[in-house]
């Protein structure tokens, strides 16, 4: 089992990063920390995808010297998917940051527990 983890070291690192990001989202009450945790989960998933496309000894998928065979280049599909993902992740985090700025202006705090307490049961 341990040797398998060492063999798939990129995937193992991606899984550990995913869990660190996940625990950041669960344990931290600060909204900015939660956003960073989510960005980290994004990055770990991209790492996992790209490591699935990697083939030992093959080169980057840019045609050089007219060679066009699958023995020469790595799998280009994960690269394309991750390229899309990185840009979408930036849009998502910009959106979340704008929302947290609005929350801060409204409630003067970024602590999610306090914000929930302030929004809930307004009459009490």
């Amino acid at each position: 089992m341990f040797s398998k983890w060492l063999m798939n070291y990129e995937e193992t690192a991606a899984v550990i990063l995913f869990c660190i990001g996940f625990s950041m989202m669960l344990f931290n009450r600060n909204l900015i920390k939660k956003i960073i945790g989510m960005d980290m989960m994004d990055s770990s998933i991209y790492l996992f995808l790209a490591s699935q496309g990697y083939i030992e000894g093959h080169k980057a998928p840019i045609v050089t010297g007219g060679v066009q065979s699958t023995e020469a280049y790595i799998n280009p599909i994960p690269s394309g998917l991750v390229l899309t993902g990185i840009v979408v992740a930036v849009s998502v985090s910009a959106l979340m940051m704008a929302l947290s700025i609005r929350l801060y202006h409204r409630y003067h705090t970024l602590d999610l527990d306090k914000i929930v307490a302030l929004t809930g049961r307004e009459e009490a």
């Binding site: 070291y9 690192a13 344990f27 790209a50 990697y54 980057a60 390229l83 992740a89 910009a94 940051m97």
Partner: protein, 99 residues
């Protein structure tokens, strides 16, 4: 190459742990920028230069820029500014009370 990637991945995990442990928001954002840069080099070791250049421009540049601006907006960077804001708020409340 394998050794280099493993060291880089260890560094990545260290950065992630540091971000989750640090209390100061500015510090954690700076460490997160570091994380993105290491990610950039890992893309190179995975033979994906397209991803590396996109991560360098978009992930490292734009995301951390937006994080810094957000911290600026929520007054998490300058302690003096925060104190000033608080003083102004209390002054405004007091003024209204007198009226």
């Amino acid at each position: 190459m394998t050794g280099v990637s493993q060291v880089l991945l260890l560094f990545l995990i260290g950065c992630a742990l540091a971000v989750s442990i640090t209390r100061n928001l500015l510090t954690s954002v700076i460490i997160y920028t570091c994380f993105s840069m290491v990610m950039c080099i890992i893309w190179i070791t995975l033979e994906s230069p397209d991803l590396a250049i996109t991560e360098a421009a978009v992930g490292t540049g734009i995301t951390s820029l937006l994080y810094f601006l957000t911290l600026k907006k929520i007054h998490a960077i300058d302690a003096r500014n925060k104190a000033k804001m608080k003083r102004n708020e209390t002054a405004r409340d007091g003024g209204e009370g007198h009226e």
